[in-house]
């Protein structure tokens, strides 16, 4: 598999992803400057975390106009894979590749933590390395991860099995107490209808190297190869 990691000005998790895809999984990984448009050689595009364009205006709102995004949309239309993590998820919603929006955390603070996440089902190429309803531990680090969508959209997401990750308690409880940022239905990550675009607030790339104490993210990358 050939990975591409988009670098917007202000991206800051781009190299962390390459450390996993290239450093740990030995996959060819190319950094894509946001002004590039030729990404045909790549199988999986990852939009990394960070603060693209300083999060000015709204998270991801400026990045979506970067030249590379037109090519990313074409990449999606061809059925190829796109993963947006954290700021990358915000860019995907702004670009209309995923429904809903990510707003300011309920407590108005940035939250960096390592918390339980429930894998909703493993009937997706992104989660086939996990058990359905398995509880894993992923790091989160965001100020605007409060997922919002209207009732109809939420229902559609549920009905189509588009919700892949939810914030939960240690035993998988989905409730308000275990919702760090106020997201609707505790949503932490969703896919598009076709299933080839995933956006998630947690950072699987920060949980892929055992030396750092967290390794539950490894299965996500391992199963893309």
């Amino acid at each position: 598999m050939k990975f591409g990691v988009v670098v917007f000005p202000g991206s800051n998790c781009d190299r962390d992803i390459a450390m996993v895809t290239e450093g740990i999984f030995n996959q060819t990984t190319r950094m894509i400057w946001h002004q590039e448009t030729d990404i045909d050689d790549l199988d999986i595009i990852i939009l990394p975390g960070g603060f693209s364009y300083g999060d000015y205006l709204r998270c991801g709102a400026i990045a979506r106009f970067s030249p590379v995004m037109k090519s990313v949309i074409q990449h999606v239309e061809k059925g190829k894979l796109v993963l947006g993590i954290c700021n990358g998820f915000q860019v995907l919603t702004e670009a209309g590749l995923l429904p809903g929006a990510l707003t300011r955390n309920r407590n108005l603070h940035f939250i960096c933590d390592q918390i339980p996440i429930r894998i909703e089902h493993n009937n997706s190429l992104w989660t086939k390395g996990y058990q359905s309803e398995e509880v894993v531990c992923f790091p989160i680090a965001h100020g605007e991860g409060n997922y919002y969508a209207d009732e109809d959209t939420l229902k559609e997401l549920e009905d189509n099995g588009q919700i892949l990750f939810r914030y939960c308690g240690k035993k998988g409880e989905i409730n308000d107490e275990n919702n760090p940022n106020g997201s609707s239905k505790n949503i932490a990550g969703i896919i598009n209808k076709k299933g080839n675009v995933l956006g998630m607030m947690p950072h699987p790339e920060r949980a892929s190297d055992t030396v750092l104490g967290f390794s539950d993210g490894k299965a996500l990358f391992a199963n893309l190869l």
Binding site: C13, A18, M19, I24, D55, F110, C112, D209, L212
Partner: protein, 755 residues
């Protein structure tokens, strides 16, 4: 010619009448307005250390691992295998007092620039913070603003904030301390330095635009805060971490081309400081044309350009003919890069504006040949100290059967754990991205020091074995009550914290936060603390590679009474971990593990948190420090960790052994049954008294014999087995029996409950 300024105009630049005469001597004429402003900022304590230079010169600064010592933007040490680590601490106290969010944010931005200016990529940030008490609404506003500011800047710029320390004490109510330390890993072959060279080489201005923000911030930082200081808000800079992130990438890319001769960030005193320091260090001159500088505001006059502290700007000297290469890199990152001047042979800084010379000053007059004040040190300790030392423990109420002052020992322990200075700092560090860059080996709160894997920017994780441990330490009450001993104890604690994670202490960066040196007590504190640091750094072989001095930390209340802060010499120390798999945290690991203390159990009341919190008494002297014992204890702890014997290690500090045991329980989510050594002392002294050189560790019982023979060999009698990791309660003798959950809840919510 008569003096072209009124005494008020001169004083407004922070210049004393005698200093004005010195300026005239150096120039051979009267300065103009712009030049006067340049001298004002460059001759401030913040820039030229006029009060502290004689004291700083005694610090040890050489060592086998020291690649760059004091005088450059940051110190650089050799971590072996080609790994070179740059690090430095800096204060942003006064701006944070006036505008906490921007003050703290730009403090982080400034220290990061010091690191990447050297060619090092910033890999970690630590913070040492001091606030008033949280029951004061003004303090709460400052506290929240500072945390938010650090979070905003550090998170966005993509450098993990991995550790630090926070104390709360009314001594800091009007004058918080915000000290930020940054660590970087050298990415360029050559360390980029500040000395300009090559007559005719172009001088490039790069980064953000220049505006009127932060005007005269360095002078402002070198004066007492008053009720009117709120009107000085324009002296506080405004930061943009997004620009800084791009600036990091662009600078490192630019340095790697080899086209850059020298670089200097624009921090305090902006263009004035960077041009004069680059010129003075290179023994050359610089001519700079202000008309070329990208401005964000219209109609700025030279005085404003020269004193602006707009953020995210740098000055480069480039090799002639290679300007365009550099300009292209900066433009790719959306940043400015313009040729604004050149290196000239005469040792002067010449500033042009509208085709005329706006200022022309010998560069050394601004940067090197600056005033120095030698103050007299009080020969006898000041009254406050004598009075505090006269305190005797007989003044305390008598110990009752189960406690003191109608509180039992369990209640007292919980009260101490509920003290914000001791309590969990989770509310704070949860707002800091502490994992970005994928090298954070130890999460905040998990150990006595932060641990980062030292991995080159695109390096394979499997190949990165070296770790760096870092800590910032200073118990200001100790320093207040005995500046010399207190400062030594700060160095000892920093080294001990590094040893508790298995790291060998390597080098120090210090941040001297003191009151006015012009007052006898202030100077007495500064003088003795510097001696203490100097002696202890020699003992631990941790040279000082640089740092920062922040004096005049006093607030003047409405009645005009100066209120000095506790003298706070913060010690930032870095340590080397040869193998990141051989480390440990502070929490118990497994039930049945045996608990030992390393060191001599000789607690005392002096300067303790127990006296301050439970008896409202700030008195006595801090605990004695025995260098030999301290070094032996640290060494055996490190050895034990590296041999895989020691499973947890935590040193005993504020709140004494009971608090330290409670913290190991909280962190490990396990209880412990402990019998403290029998000593002839009041029970409260045994439980909560403080001491130096004591570490609590736990080991697997299988290794008991091996471990104990190692201890006897290295420490003689100075160790003891005190108990084992057990069940869900912390049990100390038959005095304390508390469930770990209760302890944890109290400790974890203390700060949040006060907000």
């Amino acid at each position: 010619m008569s003096v072209p300024f009124t005494p008020q105009e001169i004083a407004a630049e922070g210049i004393k009448p005698t200093e004005y005469e010195e300026i005239v001597n150096r120039l051979g004429r009267h300065p103009n307005k712009a030049e006067l402003g340049m001298f004002g900022v460059m001759w401030s304590e913040h820039c030229c250390y006029k009060n502290s230079k004689p004291l700083l010169s005694q610090f040890p600064s050489d060592g086998d691992r020291i690649l760059v010592g004091p005088g450059e933007n940051a110190g650089v040490v050799d971590f072996g295998n080609g790994l070179r680590v740059a690090f430095k601490i800096e204060s942003h106290n006064h701006p944070s007092a006036i505008e906490p969010f921007q003050g703290a944010a730009t403090g982080v931005g400034g220290i990061l620039r010091d690191i990447f200016t050297m060619g090092a990529r910033p890999i970690a940030i630590l913070n040492s913070l001091r606030f008033g008490n949280l029951d004061n609404p003004h303090t709460r506003r400052i506290f929240k603003g500072v945390v938010e500011g650090i979070s905003h800047y550090g998170n966005c710029v993509g450098v993990p904030t991995v550790g630090g320390e926070v104390y709360f004490n009314s001594a800091y109510s009007g004058n918080p301390l915000v000290n930020a330390m940054a660590i970087g890993l050298m990415e360029t072959d050559d360390i980029v330095k500040a000395g300009a060279s090559g007559i005719g080489n172009p001088v490039l201005y790069v980064g953000s635009t220049t505006g009127r923000d932060g005007m005269g911030g360095a002078s402002f930082a070198s004066a007492e805060l008053t009720d009117e200081s709120m009107d000085d808000r324009p002296a506080v800079q405004v930061g943009d971490p997004f620009l800084e992130k791009s600036l990091i990438e662009a600078c490192l890319e630019a340095f790697k081309t080899g086209a850059v001769v020298a670089a200097q960030d624009m921090g305090a005193a902006g263009i004035t400081c960077s041009t004069s320091e680059m010129a003075a260090k290179g023994g050359v001159g610089i001519e700079l044309d202000l008309d070329k500088i990208p401005a964000r505001e219209k109609a700025m006059i030279p005085y404003e350009y020269l004193l602006s502290e707009s953020q995210e700007r740098m000055l480069f000297v480039a090799h002639k003919g290679r300007e365009q290469e550099l300009i292209d890199i900066f433009e790719k990152w959306g940043l400015h890069a313009v040729v604004a001047g050149k290196v000239i042979p005469e040792s002067i800084v010449r500033i042009l504006h509208k085709n005329a010379i706006a200022a022309e000053v010998p560069s050394t007059a601004l940067a090197d040949n600056t005033p120095i004040y030698h103050h007299k040190v009080l020969t006898n300790p000041p009254e406050y100290a004598m009075k505090a030392w006269a305190w005797r423990e007989e003044e305390l109420p008598e110990v009752e059967k189960n406690g003191v002052k109608e509180q039992n020992w369990e209640q007292i322990l919980l009260t101490l754990l509920d003290t914000p200075s001791i309590a969990s700092k989770r509310w704070i560090y949860r707002q800091y991205d502490h994992q970005v860059q994928n090298n954070t080996v130890m999460l905040p709160g998990g150990a006595d020091a932060a641990i980062i894997r030292v991995r080159p920017v695109n390096g394979k994780p499997q190949l990165a074995k070296t770790g760096i441990a870092a800590t910032t330490d200073c118990n200001p009450r100790y320093v207040y009550l005995e500046p010399n001993l207190g400062a030594k104890l700060a160095v000892a604690e920093a080294a001990r914290n590094l040893s508790c994670v298995g790291a060998e202490p390597i080098a120090v960066t210090d941040n001297l936060n003191f009151g006015s040196p012009e007052k006898p007590i202030g100077y007495w504190q500064l003088h003795h603390a510097c001696q203490g640091i100097s002696e202890a750094c020699r003992e631990f072989q941790t040279p000082v590679t640089g740092g920062n001095v922040s004096l005049y930390n006093e607030t003047i209340d409405s009645e005009g009474n100066p209120q000095p802060i506790y003298p706070t010499p913060v010690i930032g120390m870095v340590g080397l971990i040869p193998d990141i798999n051989k480390i440990c945290g502070q929490g118990w690991q497994q039930e049945g593990d045996l608990i030992y203390i390393l060191g001599k159990f000789n607690p005392s009341f002096g300067a303790s948190e127990y006296l301050a919190t439970i008896h409202d008494t700030v008195a006595g002297k801090p605990p004695e420090l025995d260098y030999e014992l301290e070094k032996q204890v640290q060494e055996v702890c490190r050895d034990g960790i590296r041999q895989g014997l020691v499973k947890s290690a935590h040193d005993v500090t504020e709140g004494g052994i009971s608090v330290a045991l409670a913290e190991s329980c909280i962190s490990g989510k396990l209880g412990a049954k402990v019998t403290l050594p029998k000593i002839n002392a009041r029970l409260d002294k045994v439980l909560f008294g403080e001491l130096a050189s004591l570490i609590i560790i736990s080991i697997n019982p299988e290794n008991k014999n091996l471990w104990e023979s190692l201890l006897t060999e290295k420490l003689g009698d100075n160790w003891q087995k005190i108990g084992e990791v057990k069940s869900t309660n912390l049990m100390i003798n038959n005095l304390i029996n508390l469930d770990v959950k209760t302890i944890t809840d109290t400790w974890e919510k203390a700060i949040e409950n006060r907000l």
